[in-house]
């Protein structure tokens, strides 16, 4: 896994991204100095609690933010151009065709009064496809995502689909534009466990088939482990740890990551009780001046309240934002491996 990570071409490079929301005269620091890149054919994951800024970060990539949001600084370099500096017309050419997005809840993300066909055909605007080609492509997309009798279902509305089929339909619409990067915002959260599994497998399969990159947003480490090559853990608008998935699960170095992993129900562990992280995340309108996780951190020292730690690379590709990450050295992850990285689950 790790050799692939280091050699791939960078598709998207986000540098020092900041997003602020303004409401009722208050400033909310939703995303703070986030930097990451996504390589071709790679699945990159954001994980964190709801409200940690992971959705906002992903939406900022195609500038799909609420009216009261501002991006005071940062760069989002996609194929050599900064998306934040693009005109609206150029941005529209990136949206859909280059970077597609799927949402958590297809029932609300698809227009209830337009057919699947009408919504899929919007992806073909500006192409010189004939009517027959559009029809063919649309049917092919539904077939690709595993919707039976696609010719018939194309003419239906989203409310006529069942839960899992809805998510498939939305994926089909997004993929109809052949994006190079798919942003999947909690694509499985609203689904039953069995259907969740089907959708995960579907995205993985299509990703390999089409050679796409995927940016996955989830609060579920389980989903991360099934899909992602690399992961960023987000907390209060900050990246607190990034690493390849295996490293993150085996040698987590940020106390928050460790807490998330400990909170997972696992049959591997002898102790079957769940250990939730105590306390709640700070308000984005009123972040502490030091480490944002300090108030909940079991390893906290005075320095943590005083000074925001920098993102430090502690081993190739493994970055962590913690003054005392050394304390977690040797801590037990979900998967036990030795420091060389050989897997022995």
């Amino acid at each position: 896994m790790s050799d692939k990570i280091n050699t791939g071409d960078v598709l998207l490079d986000v540098k020092n991204l900041n997003v602020r929301f303004y409401s009722n005269g208050r400033e909310m620091k939703a995303v703070n100095g986030v930097s990451f890149n996504i390589k071709k054919g790679e699945t990159f994951g954001f994980v964190g609690e709801s409200g940690c800024g992971k959705s906002t970060t992903s939406r900022a990539i195609i500038r799909l933010l609420a009216e009261n949001a501002k991006i005071p600084s940062g760069e989002i370099i996609y194929k050599g151009q900064d998306i934040l500096k693009l005109s609206n017309d150029k941005l529209r050419k990136i949206r859909g065709k280059e970077i597609g997005m799927i949402f958590q809840e297809p029932m609300t993300a698809l227009n209830p009064v337009l057919t699947i066909k009408q919504q899929m055909y919007e992806q073909f605007i500006g192409t010189n496809m004939t009517k027959a080609q559009k029809e063919e492509k649309a049917v092919e997309m539904l077939r690709l995502v595993g919707i039976p009798s696609p010719e018939k279902r194309l003419k239906e509305y989203i409310h006529q689909f069942s839960g899992g089929m809805r998510q498939r339909a939305m994926i089909a619409i997004t993929l109809a534009a052949n994006p190079n990067l798919l942003i999947a915002d909690e694509p499985t959260t609203a689904l039953d466990v069995t259907i969740q599994d089907q959708i995960i497998k579907l995205i993985n399969k299509i990703k390999d088939q089409l050679g796409m990159s995927v940016l996955l947003i989830t609060h579920d480490l389980g989903v991360i482990s099934q899909m992602c090559d690399r992961v960023a853990v987000m907390y209060a608008g900050y990246f607190v740890e990034t690493a390849d998935t295996l490293t993150l699960f085996s040698v987590p170095r940020h106390p928050y990551t460790k807490g998330l992993i400990d909170a997972l129900p696992s049959t591997d562990k002898k102790d079957l009780s769940l250990k939730p992280i105590k306390g709640t995340a700070p308000s984005l309108a009123d972040l502490p001046s030091g480490c944002p996780f300090a108030p909940r951190c079991p390893y906290k020292e005075d320095k943590c309240d005083a000074e925001l730690p920098e993102m430090k690379e502690i081993s190739p590709g493994h970055m962590v934002r913690c003054h005392f990450h050394e304390k977690l050295k040797g801590a037990q992850g979900l998967i036990s491996i030795d420091e060389e990285g050989d897997n022995n689950v």
Partner: protein, 313 residues
């Protein structure tokens, strides 16, 4: 086929309501104090003419017989004669209803003109200056009585600047059209205020909806997003409300036709009350009830056409 079945079902459901309503109207008209013949002809009527009218109205029969005759009349479209106009009520209504129908159609047209664009702008510009202005205007529009704004418009555009007729609607099609402009605008003001508020709130909800975000994420043009995702969806409840408000405008003709002296059904109703021409009053009320029921039914059908989620059942 579904729609036909549905219409049939609804019409069957309407029958009991309609029967009860006709019974109520029957009782209402008979509840008018005094001898109806005397009331109609006045204090100084001769005993002969009173007896003749009683005979004609069937007042000498028992209430049961009267009621059966009345029901038979409704079914056979024979609602008796107008005393004032000395002609069958049904013929009288048909000769007048055209004005009211045209008034309602033109009022609906102006309502659409006045409400759809401002409502959309207010929603898109929520809490910004255009929204504040449009909302204030709509709020004032809600508080303006139609008979007064009608008289104000008359004073301005018929009395001071003589663009429109002060009363009536002339004889030719063009005169009819010109004569209905001020009355229709008057009708449209109050209804537009209601629709603007409704449409604005729909647009506010929809422009922040997931499906508009999803449409944006597809990179389609702002125009397409507005037209096919925001406006189209926001207009569904507004159109439904408009078709219900058509009933109110049809009823509003009672006031408007008085203000602009139009020869429609509303003016006829008021004048028939003054003239105690109760056969006409009864006939018009029955007609209004039928119109209300038909428009309600049409509203449900339109709603189901506009919104595929709504099933007729």
């Amino acid at each position: 086929m579904d729609v036909l079945n549905y219409i049939l079902k609804r019409v069957l459901q309407m029958i009991p309501v309609f029967i009860i309503v006709t019974i109520l109207i029957f009782i209402l008209i008979r509840a008018i104090p005094g001898d109806p013949a005397m009331v109609m002809l006045g204090e100084r009527a001769t005993p002969e003419s009173l007896a003749a009218l009683r005979e004609k109205l069937g007042l000498n029969e028992s209430y049961i017989t009267q009621f059966l005759l009345y029901l038979k009349g409704i079914v056979t479209l024979d609602l008796g004669d107008s005393i004032k106009f000395n002609m069958p009520v049904v013929d009288l209504i048909f000769s007048r209803v055209g004005t009211t129908i045209w008034l309602t159609i033109m009022s609906t047209f102006f309502t659409v003109i006045f409400s759809f664009i401002p409502g959309y702008i207010a929603g898109i510009k929520k809490d910004k200056i255009p929204d504040q202005i449009i909302r204030l205007i709509a709020l004032i529009g809600l508080s303006v009585p139609s008979f007064w704004i009608g008289l104000v418009l008359l004073t301005l555009f018929a009395v001071q600047i003589k663009i429109f007729p002060v009363s009536g609607w002339g004889d030719t099609f063009i005169e009819h059209f010109v004569g209905l402009i001020l009355p229709s605008i008057t009708q449209a003001i109050g209804v537009s205020a209601i629709l603007i508020r409704n449409l604005r709130n729909n647009v506010v909800d929809i422009k922040n909806s997931d499906y508009v975000d999803f449409a944006k994420s597809k990179g389609i043009s702002q125009f397409r997003i507005s037209a096919f995702h925001i406006v189209r969806n926001a207009l569904i409840p507004t159109t439904t409300l408009l078709s219900l408000k058509i009933i109110a405008m049809f009823g509003g003709s009672i006031v408007i036709e008085n203000v602009f002296t139009l020869p429609g059904i509303g003016a006829l109703l008021v004048n028939s009350i003054y003239a105690r021409d109760y056969a006409v009053v009864q006939g018009i009320i029955i007609m209004f009830v039928i119109v209300v029921m038909v428009i309600n039914l049409l509203t449900d059908i339109i709603y189901s056409i506009l919104d595929p989620r709504v099933k007729l059942s």
